[in-house]
Amino acid sequence: MPETALEPQIETDLKELAQDIVGRAMSGGATAAECVIREGDEFSTLVRLGQVETLKEAGSRSIGVRVFYGQRAASTYSSDFSRAGLDRMLKSALELAKITSEDPFGGIPDPSQLGSLSGDLDLYSADVYSLPGEERISFARRAEKAALDSDPRIKNSEGGSFDAATGHKILANSHGFLGEYRRSYCSVAAVPIAQDENGAMQRDYWYSVARNLGRLESPEHVGKVAAQRALRRLGARKAKTAQVPIVFDPLVATSILEHIFEGVNGDSVYRGASFLAGKLGQKIAASHVTVIDDGTVVGGFGTSPFDGEGVPSRRTVVIENGVLSSYLLNTYTAKKLGLQTTGNASRGLAGTPGIGPGNYFLQPGPRTPQQLIGDVKEGLYVTEFLGMGVNLVTGDYSRGASGLWISGGELTYPVEEITVAGNLKDMFLNISEIANDLEFRGAVASPTIRIDGLTVGGE
């Protein structure tokens, strides 16, 4: 129990602390050890109908340790940085490692694989906190106001918001790796509600996110786009059940691209739990499909100098001209598959490292989204998915959707309460065109895409 919690907080050097924990794990009998420390601050405010609804501000930190006894591993974590709290965390880890199984593929990366990208990756800007309190609130207020003012049918709102956060991560291991990086983030968003003459309501949102304030889109722009998105949904009806070409806007196309990520995730691959397992070198997508994961892009949302195990981030071509060219791996899954890590380890506080994306994207094509829509005689333009009806083992895909009906190459009326279904194995082969509108609003991004052969379920 944390009997010593009333001690004043000592501002320890966190890098030294991480190294100290690794050293103490080793002298406690571990054969390898790894320590992660995370600290962060967050600020958020929500303004609704012009009034501040919430203001939240806080900071926190936590520490985790992973130890190996030969090929047995265990991990523990704590938010209590007192001497007693850290002692307890270490002791539990060393005890827990005795009850896990010998796993011949377990272990931290080889020393030769460890390292950190050099140079300024432009991931951190203290300016996300530079605004005085009133101006932060004003960002949120302006975004909401722009939405409310843009049309009389925008009558209600879930608010405008402004968020800022910074994070600091430290990783040390018993091969002598010691690294740290800081990242910052800020965002402005609006969630207006449009109402038609019958009282039916539609909600939508828009947002801008950036690593520094200077790159944030204006709150007015965000609010206006959010309002347009809500307004175009008014009067939505169901569509008829049919097989038609479907054009996916960038937000929903991104979620489809994420299924490829989950499909090439080494953890699913070695278990045979992925529809892409065993497909390396095979054609799995249309020949104009190239998917890249690049954790090295300066200023990127998915950029870091090293991954969750201390392996430098890198660029990996996942699909090249339709052919699956690489899985995305951490040290463990790479060993299981007889491959090399791709530097995609993601490390929470506890458990074994998972696999996460760098900047992961589908390469854009030459034509505009309007041109893609213009080619479709009768079809569907999907702007939102609802639910998670995706089976990565079989590739079965069935999700709720809403959007706009395409008729004669034009967006006509809004549709909702429909489903979009198919199988991921066919969907990527049937990507008939990729538009030129690639834009990063997070670590994963896709341009507008068109897929043929899917079933729309409706009336």
Binding site: L55, I193, Q243, T352, G458
Partner: protein
């Protein structure tokens, strides 16, 4: 009040400290302030390829401080429970208000609370070897079920959350909330196909639950059965049709179609498709829906909510008529309604809001077999993954993981997973038969709202909906449902 309170003993907290923190929170005015102390201890184990590959334990503790002023909420938290840090957080939360200081009411009153999960030895403190036994037994049983089961992963996770909530109105509530779950997922492979199956359960129970009531073998066999069944599943039909939902997990329909839309915050802000419908008919008269936070041992149950208010059973829909909303303190005060004890939060880092506990539809009078017999062509769905709802336009989905065709009153071929989509305010008006076989889920549900995850329960009896859209892929030739 209880001098043995955990935080008094282990952090040297005193009543005087609590008064001081609340006073700091109200130093710039405001209507109400509260402190939420949390100490969370957790364990997790994973067996994969018959090896215990991962074991972890952790502790997190902190205090969240809230100040309410009108409709405004200020919030700050700290994971350092020293007086200086808590006072700093209290003054940060106080920035939401701007007026003369208010004084918290003198003294605290602790009300007698229920004891819905009287665990003597919390599982988190139980021998780790017993937990290892659980996941290993699950692995063995799943593999033994059928040679086509090729991959098995079993996870066991438990936690003990100790909380203390004190408010400027004298609220003083503490609780110790155990939670445990065991999950098994399998992959089956035939020469041509792969399929997955998963199962799991738990609740606010001690470890012996998994050695008696619901064993690892029970969940393992269920996961394996589903995976094997899916190997031969046909394409699901597409379009509107009659749908029969089995008892238990399909209650996620209730959670998505009506539950979220009846959370008071959305109705206070008039952003829910159910806003203004109290007293109106929103379901067939066969439907009565409740949210029940006081069921012993259940995953969604709580002795007190995360604002220190006693939980209760709340009737949401009675014989088709909308009766009430689920509220927290803020919405109850602003809407002039009773606090239903549904103020919940993920952790001390989060602002509480109205959330469900265990939400289900009561049993009706129909024989489940008669319900199936009444369907000429439709879908019988018995197991579901997750769901989602847009509370503003009312559209909701839930995804079937085990479902069958019904042909001429008989359950026939298993079909592949498919999403079902409907409209909350009218989906339940299409309920034409309700079975006498109410069942709750096994206790693994987690609900997300505004980025906050909380454990919940769902349930329903066998229920027939005359029309719901099924999101399959089958064309007329193969499934017979395409129009």
């Amino acid at each position: 009040m209880d001098r043995n309170a955990f935080f008094f003993q282990h952090y040297g907290l005193t009543e005087r400290d609590l008064e001081r923190y609340l006073a700091a929170a109200l130093s710039a005015g405001g209507d109400y302030s509260d402190l939420y102390f949390e100490y969370l201890s957790s364990t997790a184990l994973t067996v994969d390829e018959s090896m215990v590959k991962s074991a972890s334990q952790g502790i997190s503790a902190g205090c969240g401080i809230r100040v309410i002023s009108g409709e405004r909420t200020g919030y700050a938290y700290t994971d350092d429970l020293s007086p200086a840090r808590i006072l700093h957080a209290a003054r940060t939360a106080a920035l939401i208000a701007s007026g003369p200081a208010k004084t918290p009411s003198a003294g605290f009153q602790q009300k007698a609370a229920r004891s819905l999960y009287p665990v003597t030895l919390p599982s988190v403190d139980a021998e780790i070897t017993a937990k290892v036994e659980l996941v290993m037994r699950a692995d063995t049983a799943a593999r033994a079920h059928d040679v086509r089961i090729k991959e098995v992963r079993a996870n066991y996770a438990d936690e003990l959350r100790t909380i203390l909530v004190v408010g400027s109105d004298g609220t003083f509530a503490e609780d110790s909330q155990p939670l445990a779950r065991l999950n098994v997922s399998c992959i089956a492979k035939s020469e041509t196909n792969s399929a997955r199956g998963s199962s799991g359960g738990g609740g606010r129970v001690a470890l012996d639950f998994f050695f008696g009531e619901k064993t690892p073998e029970y969940f393992a066999r269920e996961a394996a059965r589903q995976a094997i069944l899916q190997l031969d599943a046909r394409e699901a039909p597409a379009g509107e049709m009659e749908v029969v939902l089995g008892p238990g997990w399909p209650g996620v329909l209730i959670h998505e179609a009506v539950g979220h839309g009846l959370e008071a915050d959305f109705n206070r802000k008039q952003t829910s498709a159910f806003a203004g419908l109290i007293g109106k008919k929103v379901a067939s008269e066969k439907c009565t829906v409740v949210d029940n936070g006081v069921m012993p041992w259940r995953r969604g149950s709580l002795n007190v909510d995360d604002e220190g208010h006693a939980t209760q059973e709340t009737v949401l829909i009675e014989k088709g008529i909308l009766k009430g909303y689920l509220s927290d303190k803020l919405s109850a005060r602003l809407m002039g309604m009773a606090d239903t004890g549904n103020g919940r939060r993920e952790s001390y880092e989060h602002i509480p809001m109205p959330r469900m506990t265990n939400t289900y539809m009561l049993a009706g009078e129909d024989d489940p077999e008669d319900i199936i017999r009444s369907v000429k062509r439709g879908v019988y769905a018995v197991n579901f993954g997750g769901g989602q709802v847009d509370i503003t336009n009312g559209k909701f989905v839930f995804s079937a993981s085990e479902a069958y065709l019904i042909e001429d009153g008989h359950v026939t071929a298993p079909i592949r997973g498919a999403t079902l989509i409907g409209n909350g305010p009218d989906a339940l008006t299409r309920v034409s038969m309700v079975g006498n076989d109410l069942k709750l889920d096994e206790g693994i549900g987690t609900c997300g709202k505004d980025g906050q995850a909380v454990p919940v329960g769902v349930g329903m009896p066998t229920t027939k909906l005359d029309r719901l859209t099924v999101g399959g892929t089958a064309k007329r030739e193969t499934g017979g449902f395409m129009q």
